[in-house]
Symmetry: C2
Subunit: 125 residues, 2 copies
């Protein structure tokens, strides 16, 4: 339900939740390694490899080899930052609507339950 709701609100923007989440994460943590990003977002590293490939095709992402040459350091391109800014209002709208539907106290308790039950770590915003 949650994923479908966010996707439905984002649909007019042309992005999906995953893509927006990655833009947002990279906007906040420019130069992060792929491994760290996967851990922070709690997504499988192979899923990340493939989603990043998509973003590279779109021209939203660039990457550099790290000091440790096994690592990739990830950055948004100007186009990627533009996408993020363009789509942010859609995401904020979805966020607001869910928060309002649940009420602030319930919202907080749901996040808290997610942490306790599924080990999810809250993300900024």
């Amino acid at each position: 339900m949650v994923t479908q709701f966010y996707d439905s609100v984002l649909r007019p923007s042309g992005l999906r939740v995953t893509q927006f989440t990655l833009l947002q994460a990279l906007n906040h943590a420019s130069g992060i390694s792929q491994k760290q990003l996967a851990e922070w977002l709690e997504i499988d590293s192979t899923t990340l490899t493939r989603t990043l490939a998509f973003m590279r095709r779109k021209g939203w992402l660039r990457s550099e080899t790290g000091t440790d040459r096994r690592e990739l350091r990830l950055f948004l391109t100007a186009a990627g930052q533009g996408q993020y800014k363009r789509v942010l209002p859609y995401w904020q709208s979805a966020q607001r609507r869910l928060r309002q539907a649940l009420g602030e106290a319930n919202w907080i308790q749901v996040i808290d339950a997610a942490v306790r039950t599924a080990g999810v770590t809250p993300k900024p915003d």
Copy 2:
């Protein structure tokens, strides 16, 4: 978070949430048409076509042409019913853990918010 949590609890069973949900729905509504099933579960009809193809390969599903020959009426095979009974405890465990983590009052309000916000219809346990 919710999808990943249910999937993680179901993982030892070898099924995913989608597959279990379909077994459950067909166990409760034997002979339902594909269209009705898609509407009830609020999943895209093309997604359903492909997930049902998977279940047919596993031997869990059989189907008959309806009176309206455009329609397919869907039934679980004995093997499908067996799978459902086998995996039900995993799903109940996930359900219990989430309910407990949220608390009964919050659980109800989350379901209610889902209905109001995303138009989701509650399904029987």
